[in-house]
């Protein structure tokens, strides 16, 4: 089977994209940590939970939202639980196991962190983009997501 390697334009775009997303995540993470003591990973979990009805999700639903490996998610939740940001609630009613639920402290940590995080996202990302860039990013992300959603998870 012949491999079509990436051509030069693709390779430049791919490397710039990878470097951009990794450095952006790194800087957003450092800003969040310094500002609020949350990591970007904590923030992502708290947003997913606070977006959910009653601030609770089953672990597999949470995993689908954040798309982390199961072991990473489970370790991360244990650490967040120790810090009082999330809790686990057994649901005796249906035997389908526990919910992960955001605590009051978790909600309040997210509310405190959000303004600084949004300012950083604006300064580092959106202020560098034109409206056309934003539209292009949305379109191309959506196209890639359509393909990803068709691929069965491994």
């Amino acid at each position: 089977m012949t491999i079509r390697w990436l051509d030069e334009d693709e390779q430049r775009a791919w490397r710039a994209f990878l470097r951009m997303q990794s450095q952006l995540a790194g800087q957003l993470n450092r800003q969040l940590q310094a500002d609020s003591g949350l990591s970007l990973a904590d923030y992502e979990i708290l947003v997913a939970l606070c977006d959910a009805p009653d601030g609770r999700l089953r672990p597999y639903e949470l995993q689908r939202r954040v798309d982390w490996e199961q072991s990473r998610l489970s370790h991360h939740l244990t650490r967040m639980q120790r810090r009082g940001l999330v809790g686990r609630e057994e649901c005796a009613d249906d035997g389908r196991g526990a919910h992960v639920v955001v605590t009051d402290a978790g909600r309040s940590a997210l509310e405190t962190a959000a303004p600084g995080h949004v300012r950083a996202v604006r300064r580092l990302f959106f202020d560098q983009l034109t409206r056309e860039d934003v539209a292009a990013l949305h379109t191309l992300s959506t196209h890639v997501l359509e393909q990803l959603d068709q691929t069965p998870p491994g």
Copy 2:
């Protein structure tokens, strides 16, 4: 200070971008693992080392390439060293500490993994994009990177 929250277009683009990059990384990681036993993180380290002269970098250079937190990088390198993919070499000459160096096994693991990984990148990502999308992605990534490079690391 008034916060300019993200408007609806920005929010949709931001969420699609985050979801796309996280799901893409998840699927590329699963494909790599299943295919070659390497994680995306291993792959990234191996590419950085194999791109460097003599396959070796000082830890701080490697850290700058991959932009991971120092503790994550250091733990990851320890695990890769245990698996024989990288080694550490003291440089007695200048007292500036060790190099991280790719081993023959690391180089050969990367060569074995690369064709399948590139096929997955093409199928999941580039096959979904037009030439204009690729150009837009390169431009916007470059603009964001210019800003990121100006921001002093935290």
